[in-house]
Homo-oligomer: 543 residues x 2
């Protein structure tokens, strides 16, 4: 097989397979947006051309030579394909750019260091030479955090720095190099009786360093915690030196320096090693349950009572709002079946009914105990248990919905996701404001779910679909997207719960966090990165 | 009653009552240290003189006037007694100083602001005038964090900034002014069906702002978390402006700025308001259990297995090592009784047996479920259940052992506590190294317990007793104390788990954390406090 040097190869998710939108979903899209098969005859903006960059690499020959002398010839790439591949992540606007054959922010080279020491030498050299450095893991960022607006090098941590350093079974921790992907980590942990407990939708194509840098959350984060809850220690290379913290449990020796790197998104330095908590691997203990509620309000109230009851916690804990529930029912062929009519008869009606999915993991009796409590609470909250099947089905495809966006774009459908953390007090306000906003766009559809739950609030996760404005795709998207961000923030949501900020959400940072907080963050950055080489150009709103 | 203006009044703990060392304990001390009643005929260094300061207040009249114009005449005190009262906390070395009529580091004035805005105006003014500001809560610090080596003002937050701002029952959070004491907070929460979940030994005489600044841990922290786990948001006045964070659950909007103030010990600014998670108040649900193990090693191994089993967690979770267990048995009159002989016959022998205390709180069935698991695990780990009584007894006197140090010092006994966070892997190493160190001092006694437990490790809490070297009390203490710190760090412990660093442990910070980390902390400090007015003079090792 010939090497696939196309934009399409770069923009596509995961294993690069060609996916199609399922039959039920296509019918729904046609119906909702008044489209016909004629609209889908050809793939829209397929991006099948071969990559060509107009910007030559601006790295001076001496600089490229020096980098090669550190990491070896084969680990310093300056060809168009690799520079394009490392010019972005998987943000909708970036995928659109690639389909439009635009590569606005390529790095000048892609460097794959072979050791922590090589990273240290590269960062020191780049700081001296004022060459930007953009650390890259699995490149699944959806926030524009991987762009190189000032060129420089993309520092690929996945090629070599991808090993497990140590599994410590006494402390129940694992130390890994930052460029290890989820599956490699999980497979070895499973072999030894443990799990990492962190399963973001990008799990198969994201790295521990990326998880920590962006403050990711996994699908079972309600039980296992977000990645920042799992970090015990880390090692990071900064232009001001190496920061290495130790694996003490909860100390009181000033504030936690390591926490600055969790959420820094590459702006402070390069995380090279991370020590994480690990958990017992016992999938046979996992209890599953799906419930249906008559309204989003009832489901949310029930969820809040469950998480605040102090009888233990679910691991995965989700609610799909009525819009998402309806899509789930329609695309699975459930609509109109006997069980559907049965549910409708009981008052669980299309347009208002909501699904709640729960897993409880851990020790066998604990999982049974907590699930028993959850079932009783659901009943008390007017939810109905509908079996474990829907959750099992959902888990079986837990990573595959990420493949849906590319074929949707092939159909000319704009589709993006946003998410926010919000207190219980403001949750319904943000939820209805977002729906209200999207209703104002003709032919637009929004579905929302909750997938990470805390004592004082939860996240809301927004997925919208709407036909692209052909010929004006970027501007139209950008306007629509930023209106949604404005709406979320104005009604009481945060900038992000687990996608991070990157460059896409950076413009909102100062007004959202306040000037004193942003100035404090900028001061930390100036100290660690005085020449502003670490992921420069707006990430986190620091410039 | 006349006002008690003595050093003794200042140095004494809590409600200032005159305590005596119990009969059993005195017998033990005489026996262990070869002392007789003759040695105790008079209170040693009783500190009953009236306070007299040699250093006059260096505040210029115009400065004092300006502070009075902000906070009112009655809230700016410059008399000797108050300046002395605010010159220190409750570190052993400080108590000794007071007994020796030494006041090395008095502030020039004690100011009690009436509002957040007054704090802001005072901090801005002091920054301009380069007047040091030492924030003070309950003054229970045992790390020298409250001294004013460069004078300036002690900022007393307890007099006015001590109110509950809001109990949010939807988000299960409470917002308080930083100067509120534990009991006032807990009483109002209890009235509304909640608890703060944070019960340090200093609970009655410490404040929320102090808890957060020093990163305290409560007696039930294994279940409820340390104070830094409970902080949802805070408001702090810094010379560079007000930092105010919001109450979102777990966001990904850069790193958490509010976390810098947790552990800053007053070096970055003044925390004026804190929002904390709260918990359901249901003391009737609490399950108690005490176990006895044949050795410290067995007890620790059993505890580790319990916390790593993922069946839920105890709230209070403690082990007393053989030395502490023996003292507990002897001073309670248990030694030599029939049950004692019974235990001895079963192999739980004096000199090696260990007590483990457990409570499980929260929802009723959960408490029962987890306690059932703990009991089974204890049995599997060769521990024996000995009833709930010992735990109930311990809880009844949970805050009173803090009163013991003053009468011990009256007897001429040096007694101090240290504590560390350590991984399971290093725990026994630190434990035996500390005992080994203390064994080298003639007539010294060390007891150690574990009282805060995590998946990857625990704390060790050291209490030592030894006769003072009369006439050379400070130097002798200082040498002995720092040798113990050296020992703990060298064998794998951290500087502190929950007392904090202050000025006493500051000298170890750089070598312990590494130069890059300390420089990073210093850079944060320089940004927020460019004139170095916030708790200056070495706190946290920042100078």
């Amino acid at each position: 097989m010939e090497r696939d040097n196309t934009y399409r190869h770069i923009l596509k998710w995961g294993d690069k397979r060609e996916e199609e939108v399922g039959h039920h979903m296509v019918t729904l899209i046609k119906e909702k947006f008044g489209l016909t098969d004629a609209d889908f005859r050809e793939k829209y903006l397929p991006g099948t051309d071969e990559v060509r960059l107009e910007k030559p690499s601006l790295l001076k020959p001496a600089q490229a030579d020096f980098l090669r002398s550190i990491s070896g010839e084969e680990n310093v790439l300056t060809d168009d394909f690799h520079r394009t591949q490392y010019s972005c992540g998987k943000f909708y606007g970036e995928l659109l750019d690639l389909r439009l054959k635009r590569v606005p922010d390529p790095p000048d080279a892609v460097v794959s260091p072979r050791s922590h020491d090589e990273v240290a030498r590269i960062v020191a050299y780049c700081s001296e030479e004022k060459i930007p450095v953009v650390p890259a893991g699995g490149q699944s960022s959806v926030t524009g955090a991987l762009r190189a607006p000032f060129g420089g090098i993309a520092l690929d941590l996945t090629r070599h720095l991808n090993r497990i350093v140590k599994i410590n079974t006494v402390n129940k921790t694992v130390t890994v190099q930052a460029g290890i992907f989820g599956p490699a980590l999980e497979a070895e942990l499973n072999r030894q009786g443990y799990t990492c407990g962190h399963f973001p939708q990008s799990f198969e194509y994201s790295t521990v360093g990326g998880w920590v840098s962006a403050r990711g959350a996994g699908q079972a984060s309600t039980g296992y915690g977000k990645i920042e809850d799992m970090v015990v220690a880390l090692k990071a290379v900064t232009p001001a030196g190496v920061i290495e913290t130790r694996d003490f449990p909860r100390t009181a020796q000033g504030w936690d320096v390591f926490r600055l790197f969790s959420g820094a998104e590459g702006t402070l330095g390069v995380i090279t090693e991370v020590t994480l908590h690990i958990f017992n691997y016992a999938p046979q203990n996992t209890r599953l349950a799906a419930f249906i509620f008559r309204s989003f309000e009832q489901a949310v109230e029930s969820m809040r009572r469950m998480i605040q009851s102090e009888y233990g916690k679910p691991h995965m804990f989700r609610i799909s709002d009525p819009q998402e529930t309806d899509i789930a029912f329609r695309t699975s062929g459930f609509d109109g079946t006997f069980p559907d009519r049965f549910l409708t008869g009981l008052g669980f009606k299309t347009g208002s009914r909501c699904l709640m999915f729960v897993t409880v993991e851990g020790e066998r009796d604990y999982a049974g105990f907590v699930m028993g409590k959850i079932k009783r609470s659901a009943r008390a909250g007017k939810g109905m248990y509908i079996g474990a099947g829907p959750v099992r089905k959902w888990l079986a495809q837990r990573y595959s919905s990420a493949y849906l966006r590319d074929p949707l774009m092939d159909l000319g459908i704009m589709s993006d996701t946003l998410e926010t953390a919000v207190t219980w007090e403001n949750l319904l306000k943000v939820w209805s404001a977002a729906h209200e906003y999207v209703r104002h766009r003709p032919r637009a559809f929004l579905m929302i779910h909750i997938s990470h739950v805390y004592e004082n609030g939860a996240n809301l996760y927004f997925t919208f679909l709407t036909p692209m404005e052909k010929g004006n795709e970027q501007q139209d998207f950008s306007r629509f997207h930023s209106g949604l961000v404005d709406t979320i923030l104005a009604s009481g949501g945060s900038i992000s719960h687990h996608h991070g900020v990157g460059r896409v959400l950076a413009p909102w940072m100062e007004s959202h966090l306040g000037r004193s907080s942003i100035e404090l963050m900028a001061a930390v950055k100036r100290h660690l990165d005085p020449n502003n080489i670490m992921n420069p150009g707006g990430t986190l709103g620091l410039q």
